[in-house]
């Protein structure tokens, strides 16, 4: 009683033996095997344990619908759970493990659960662990919370690796005229006809080979398949195998998952493991086939029970006959060819046909091969553990079933009918139509450029499927304006004797465990229980019983579940309706969704033209938004604190250079440029002289501050605006929106020139000398030629064009110099020796922050979208004589209210103490709530010799004079008493910037 690897036949390469590991045991198979066929050939019948009851499970199908043989592949970081053994190609060195079992799937202690199976019905957890008196009443969930962890551990499938995924994935886009989903006879024919009409055709097939169900036919009948494949090659049709069309979306978009290296023993290092395709097709042909379903009878989940067509696939494709004594149970004609093939191969074969009679032509051939046929018969229950060793039959008895005889068998093969794969059509919200004569849902018509072909359209015979494919290909071609011979599509069906709808074999007065959805251990009784408890909607029944959930998404179980629900409700299946299939058709790895956008490429990274120069000169970098920016330039023995304090001190004492390229820069050009600026800035810009810069504040429409920056007037109609690093894109988009929607009459062009200009700030008392040494004409930066807020366009030595403005963020005499980006390193090679000779330094973001906090200059940390121009202490910059963006709504009472939080400086009372950015400011009486204010930035001030901060507090500095204030940081540090001071903590009159 065992499966046999036949000595010949099949599409495997017996000369290429592949060694693999199953649960630590060394086994072998052949090239061309799936893991499932290799396990069967090795008589490994129990390959999994079921979700709730830990019942032994084996291979139930030969495809994506598999609900039994779910295994874990690989180990460590490569561990991949819930892989269907039926679709996993075997490769040398493959490592597979059973899952949801301890110590292993053959002897699983968890099977004790099945003893309590009667308690584990639908809704078991909620009924049992919620609101259990006297511990809790009503809808209490406390108990549930205690049990949940244990229950979750006991039930389940494979475990995902907790290590980072070591594999690579990628996205890809493709376009085509016709996308054909499915490489069976219908798909091949459709692709060929469309390609012959001159269309660009893509064909995708989830299997490793093209041919669909014909791969399960005797290999001798392969000529048509090979000819069709060869024709597609000649026509230049793009064919992707190992690729699943998992979803259909708007506008002809299909999502595909290509498993590029999952079948390779040693994956190519240059190929991604999987590729996530977005295909845009003008027309889509769904030739996605049909799935054979089983029937619900006792122990129908036992290893050794599988679909007839699966067993046929194992024999004809993989050379594995699953038993010597086979019982086939059917309610339709489709099994007889397979029965005949089994018999011819030497097996003892008995067909139990649920129907009273069939057309003689259907059985003749099989009976001639030695197949015994019994009518009016179906399996009542399977016997034996793993694999099945026999069954008790049921005999048709009026409208139901009566107990029959006991039979022996070593595999029980079932065909309860076929379900067209209409899942992708369902993704387009097209409801399928129930066809009672074929006992299946058929695709409904749709207005979209979508055709169905072959058994996906309910066409059962191979020859008809080819014709159906040709018709679909021709329709696609004609719809796209090509000429193609019109082919009439065959009608659905094709069996000589009608199918008899059998979903469950139940004998009155008897009860067996009959599974509807083996993957989630949902039984026929669960469905009936759901009905008894008031679930009448199929959508609710699905969620209550979990029927049709998990990785197989009810591909074969759904129909049986619907039929049972319809029976319980006393209605027909179409009245009960069906649940909606949603993407993905089969599971998609999260890694494939993320593609290459992971690790260093999680976000696009932005570097300045001085990036390498900064690194070469000792910069430690940090991220500021997407930008890499120098954080500090540590010298020997320095950490960040020593480095930034030294850098900030050096700037105040001599000179420092800092890369400010990341500031946003916008060219504002046109006759109405001045008008635009005057409308968006709060302060007047109408009379800014050419060669001058002005600091400006921009509000949002709602009157809150959006951004600040300086704008330089380079010509009559030519401005250069700088924005903060953080708000560069936002400002650009906002201004463009204003021009394109509100002020379409203004002749202004905006161009982001952030990438065109590399900037450096030269700051400190010696800044002018450093610039003079680098400039071709040093006189242009004298105090007279370039006073505070002056702008000059000139050249560095080496003929490098530069625009310089005398502006200061540090509070020192300072200049910002911008050169075309490619010249940035050359500029620094001029400036740095001059600065170094004066004891100067390079400085980074940390020192930049220290200097600006000392001065009370705001950045994005302060301008956080809650702050008015008055709150920021910049109210004087709001013109009373003009309208500007935000000027109306800035006058809302709430924004003009007395006592709003104002920008302030913060000192510790005990100068040896420090406090943190993000702390709340309170009056010391209450330690929670929102406090009286908040701290936005802190630094150790080199100039003042202690920690200082910037922040906002109700009423501002004057309201807190002489009052106790506390910086409270409940999650990180102790409370610190602070003194609220003016935000201008260093050189409040700005004397150092001038001169």
């Amino acid at each position: 009683m065992s499966a046999t690897r036949l000595s010949q036949g099949g599409r495997i390469d017996r000369s290429c033996e592949l060694a693999f590991q199953w649960d630590g045991k060394g086994l072998s198979g052949y090239d061309g095997d799936t893991l499932a066929s290799a396990l069967l050939a090795n008589n490994e019948w129990v390959v999994a344990r079921s979700f709730k009851y830990h019942r032994p499970r084996g291979v139930m199908s030969a495809g994506v619908e598999e609900g039994g043989a779910l295994v874990t592949l690989g180990s460590g970081a490569h561990r991949d759970a819930n892989v269907r053994a039926t679709t996993q190609p075997l490769f040398s060195g493959l490592e597979a493990f059973g899952q949801n079992a301890w110590p292993n799937v053959r002897t699983d202690l968890g099977e004790v659960n099945s003893l309590f199976g009667r308690f584990f019905a639908a809704g078991f957890y909620y009924k049992t662990f919620m609101g259990v008196p006297p511990l809790e009443w009503g809808r209490g969930t406390w108990l549930w919370m205690q049990y949940e962890k244990v229950i979750r551990r006991a039930a389940g499938m494979g475990r995902a690796s907790r290590e980072p995924d070591p594999d690579h994935y990628e996205h890809a886009n493709a376009f085509c005229d016709v996308l054909v989903v499915g490489g069976g006879p219908a798909g091949l024919a459709a692709a060929q006809v469309a390609a012959e009409a001159g269309l660009d055709v893509m064909l995708v097939e989830q299997d490793s080979k093209l041919g669909g169900d014909t791969l399960n036919h005797p290999a001798a009948a392969d000529a048509d398949r090979l000819a069709a494949i060869s024709a597609l090659e000649t026509l230049g049709c793009r064919v992707l195998t190992h690729t699943t069309a998992f979803g259909l979306y708007d506008g002809g978009v299909a999502g595909l998952l290509e498993r590029v290296t999952d079948h390779q023993s040693i994956p190519s290092v240059h190929q991604p493991r999987q590729r996530f395709w977005t295909v845009r097709a003008k027309h889509t042909v769904l030739a996605s086939g049909a799935l054979e379903r089983g029937m619900a009878f006792g122990n129908n989940d036992r290893p050794g029970v599988m679909t007839v067509n699966a067993a046929r696939a194992y024999m004809q494709r993989y050379g594995v006959r699953v038993g010597d004594k086979l019982v086939l149970s059917t309610n339709n004609d489709s099994v007889y060819a397979a029965a005949s093939e089994f018999a011819k191969s030497g097996a003892e074969v008995c067909v139990l046909d649920a129907r009273a009679r069939v057309e003689p032509a259907v059985t003749e051939f099989a009976e001639a091969s030695g197949v015994r046929v019994e009518f009016n018969t179906a399996p009542y229950t399977a016997h034996g553990r793993s694999p099945v060793s026999g069954l008790t039959t049921a005999r048709a008895d009026r409208d139901g079933w009566a107990l029959g005889d006991r039979m022996e068998c070593d595999a029980l093969l079932v065909s309860g009918g076929w379900s067209p794969v209409v899942n992708l059509l369902s993704h387009r919200q097209v409801k399928s139509v129930w066809d009672a004569s074929l006992a299946c849902f058929l695709p409904a018509d749709t207005d979209e450029p979508l055709s169905l072909a072959g058994s996906a359209a309910g066409v059962w015979n191979t020859e008809d499927c080819v014709r159906s494919g040709e018709a679909a290909g021709a329709r696609a071609a004609q719809a796209l304006g090509r000429s193609a011979p019109t082919v009439s599509a065959p009608a659905p069906g094709g069996w000589a004797t009608p199918i008899k709808a059998v979903y469950e074999v139940r004998v009155p007065g008897k009860s067996e465990k009959c599974f509807v959805d083996p993957q989630h251990d949902v039984s026929t009784e669960d469905v009936r229980l759901a009905h008894r408890e008031g679930y009448v909607s199929v959508e609710h029944m699905k969620r209550y019983t979990t029927l049709g959930m998990a990785t197989d998404q009810g591909k074969v179980g759904n129909i049986i579940g619907l039929a049972l629900m319809a029976e319980a409700l006393g209605r027909e299946i179409p009245e009960v309706g069906t649940t909606t299939f949603r993407p993905p058709y089969t599971p998609v790895a999260l890694g494939a969704l993320r593609g290459r956008h992971v690790g260093a490429h999680f976000r696009p990274l932005r570097v300045t033209p001085l990036h390498q120069w900064n690194l070469d000169h000792g910069a430690t970098m940090t991220m500021a938004g997407l930008w890499h920016r120098p954080w500090y330039f540590a010298r020997a023995g320095e950490g960040i604190s020593e480095a930034y304090v030294r850098e900030a001190t050096t700037v105040r004492e001599s000179v420092g250079l800092v890369d400010v390229t990341s500031l946003g820069k916008i060219a504002i050009q046109g006759p109405d440029a001045t008008e635009l600026l005057n409308r968006v800035y709060t302060n007047p810009f109408a009379k800014l002289a050419i060669g001058k810069a002005r600091y400006g504040i921009m509000l949002r429409d709602d009157g809150l501050v959006m951004d600040d920056g300086t704008t330089w007037r380079l010509g009559e109609h030519d401005y250069f605006m700088t924005t903060t690093t953080a708000h560069a894109a936002k400002v650009m988009v906002f201004l463009e929106e204003l021009l394109q929607t509100r002020w379409t009459d203004l002749k202004v062009h905006l161009t982001s020139v952030s990438e065109q200009w590399a900037g450096v700030a030269v700051a400190g008392p010696c800044s002018r000398e450093v610039l003079e040494e680098a400039l071709a004409d040093p006189s242009v930066v004298s105090n007279e030629a370039l006073p505070f807020m002056g702008v000059v366009e000139t050249r560095f030595k080496g003929d490098i064009p530069v625009r310089i403005a005398r502006i200061s963020f540090s509070g020192e005499r300072a200049f910002e110099a911008y050169v075309p980006s490619d010249y940035a390193p050359s500029m620094m090679d001029l400036l740095w020796p001059a600065a170094e000779a004066r004891g100067g330094c390079l400085y980074g973001l940390e020192a930049l922050g220290a200097l600006r906090i000392e001065k009370g200059h705001v950045t994005g940390a302060e301008l956080d979208g809650r702050v008015t121009i008055d709150d920021a202490g910049l109210g004087k910059m709001a013109s009373k004589n003009k309208h500007f963006i935000g000027s109306a709504l800035a006058k809302r009472p709430e924004l003009e209210r007395e006592g709003r939080a104002q920008l302030v400086g913060i000192f510790p009372v005990d100068k040896s103490k420090r406090f943190n950015a993000g702390s709340l400011l309170t009056d010391g009486t209450v330690g929670d709530g929102h406090g009286e204010g908040w701290i936005t930035g802190v630094t150790h001030s080199p100039a003042l010799g202690h920690w200082i901060g910037l922040g906002f507090i109700k009423g501002g500095a004057s309201a807190w004079h002489g009052k106790r204030a506390v910086a409270t940081d409940p999650v990180r540090a102790e409370d610190v008493d602070v003194e609220i001071v003016s935000p201008h903590m260093y050189d409040p009159n700005g004397e150092r910037m001038h001169g």
Binding site: N173, F175, P272, P604, R606, V607, T751, G798, D799, S821
Partner: protein, 190 residues
Amino acid sequence: MAELATRRSALDGHVPADHIGEPGAVGVNLAVTREVQLWQVAAWPDTVDAVAKAVGSVTGAQAPGPRLAISGPNAVALRVEPLKWWILNAEPPTVASEQGAVVDLSHARTQVTLSGPAAADCLMRHLPLDLREESFPVGSVASTAFHHVGVTLWRNDAGIAVFLPRGFALSLWQLLLETAAQFGARAQID
């Protein structure tokens, strides 16, 4: 530093000399243009014809319509937006501000040209654009997003030129090299 300063591309020092990825044939060539000269010339809605004429006077050919590029005897012009052209490798025309606006973007974009049998496939691993020869023939121009970054494409006789914003160029270049490895690739800068 009396001699003229030289330009340094965003990708200088990041162009591997050896064959990249899959051994054997070269599926993708990636060529970085070291010194791009690129001017943007913009018109006002009522001066498009006049500015087109000015653009044409520089290139020596008709100014291209939307989504197109025309190579003249003197220079190339790309129509990158309804009101905007890019002029490559030539000085821009003089355009008065009443007519339009001219701005230098020579240092703002890094030009990478992909050629070889897998060039379009390589780019379509990232760009949701139909770059098949028949859909995007020589002379086509498009704007799209590459890993969230706006880029401009232009197919010419040498291949598909991609203009990357300079600050993002290194990051996107690394993605391109990693992607091109599956096809077998070579890179160069000149």
